[in-house]
């Protein structure tokens, strides 16, 4: 047997250890991205979640201009952190529609009174039906929908202030 083959099992074991250590140090992402990106929005029609905004249905997304679809809830803490960013985007002319997941109307109205209401339309999804149909796995998530109702992109987690240019870029991209 050649000299170097004596070291082969040790080298293989060292390689295996390296893989395990890297796996332990690099944090695992628990995000599950939606596979519906590139697909048209599923057909849905949600009732109005609050008195001040109409409900949300699929034809609302077929109006020629890209919009954001924000999945949120009043019981979700990062959604409260995201609210100023959404208000900022709305002030810049971005149209945002919201789907409130499993929310009592009173809680939602308190949340919107406290954090502002950037939504053009707001639908109530009490059994997460639309959330499952578009491949969203939690709150908050924001989808970029183009002017023909096709899902073009997904942002998992709250939108940070430094990500505003990124979102504007995605909307421009969806507009092409």
């Amino acid at each position: 047997m050649r000299r170097w083959t004596l070291w082969l099992p040790l080298a293989l074991f060292a390689g295996f250890c390296a893989v395990v250590v890297v796996g332990l140090i690099v944090p695992k992402s628990t995000d599950i991205p939606s596979r519906m990106i590139g697909q048209p929005l599923p057909t849905f029609a949600l009732p109005a979640a609050v008195a001040a905004r109409p409900g949300l249905a699929t034809p609302d997304f077929n109006r020629g201009k890209p919009r954001l679809l924000n999945i949120f809830a009043s019981w979700c803490i990062p959604c409260a952190a995201e609210a100023p960013v959404l208000n900022d985007l709305a002030q810049r002319g971005v149209e945002i529609d919201g789907i409130a997941i499993r929310d009592h109307r009173a809680d939602l109205e308190t949340f919107l009174a406290q954090h502002g209401n950037p939504y053009a339309r707001l639908g109530a999804d009490d059994v997460s039906a639309v959330q499952l149909a578009i491949g969203s796995s939690g709150v908050p998530e924001t989808f970029v929908i183009d002017g023909h109702g096709v899902i073009r992109d997904q942002h998992i987690g709250d939108i940070r202030p430094e990500e505003i240019p990124l979102m504007l870029g995605k909307l421009r991209e969806a507009g092409r």
């Binding site: 628990t30 599950i32 991205p33 939606s34 596979r35 519906m36 809830a73 019981w75 979700c76 803490i77 997941i101 499993r102 929310d103 009592h104 809680d107 009490d126 059994v127 997460s128 039906a129 959330q131 499952l132 149909a133 578009i134 491949g135 796995s137 939690g138």
Partner: protein
């Protein structure tokens, strides 16, 4: 004394409000009246991963999204849909990760092919050794 302190501490704890307070979906925690359909639904639910507590199936998870998924599965099975088509629907939305029974594809086929190949190699090595032994004896 320690028990008293513990009891007071427990009484003053505030439950974490990271989940909603709405009632569960209609079929999240109720079994279907037809036992055969319920068995089909249960078998499917035990092999679908919860999206929030990702090491549990939706049959075990208490998360409200798991309850909503259970309710959807039961409603669809009661309406006559096959478990396979429901699984395909979920995989089309969340990818293979949502199912506990992944199919081999371009990225994962070595994991499925590896063990039989290793068994064949091990068998060949053993056969070689046995032959050498017989020759030596």
């Amino acid at each position: 004394m320690r028990r008293l302190v513990l009891a007071i501490a427990l009484a003053l704890t505030v439950p974490a409000q990271a989940d909603d307070t709405m009632p569960a979906a209609p079929w999240a925690d109720r079994q279907l009246p037809d036992p055969a359909l319920e068995a089909k639904a249960q078998a499917l639910m035990e092999t679908i991963r919860c999206l929030v507590c990702q090491s549990q199936s939706i049959a075990d998870s208490n998360a409200s999204i798991a309850g909503d998924m259970r309710s959807q599965i039961r409603t669809r099975i009661a309406a006559g849909e096959s478990p396979g088509s429901i699984r395909t629907w979920l995989i089309a939305r969340y990818g293979d990760y949502v199912s506990y029974t992944p199919q081999p594809d371009a990225a994962t086929w070595p994991l499925f092919a590896g063990p039989p190949v290793l068994v064949v190699i091990a068998g060949a090595v053993i056969r070689g050794r046995m032959r050498r032994k017989r020759v030596a004896a």
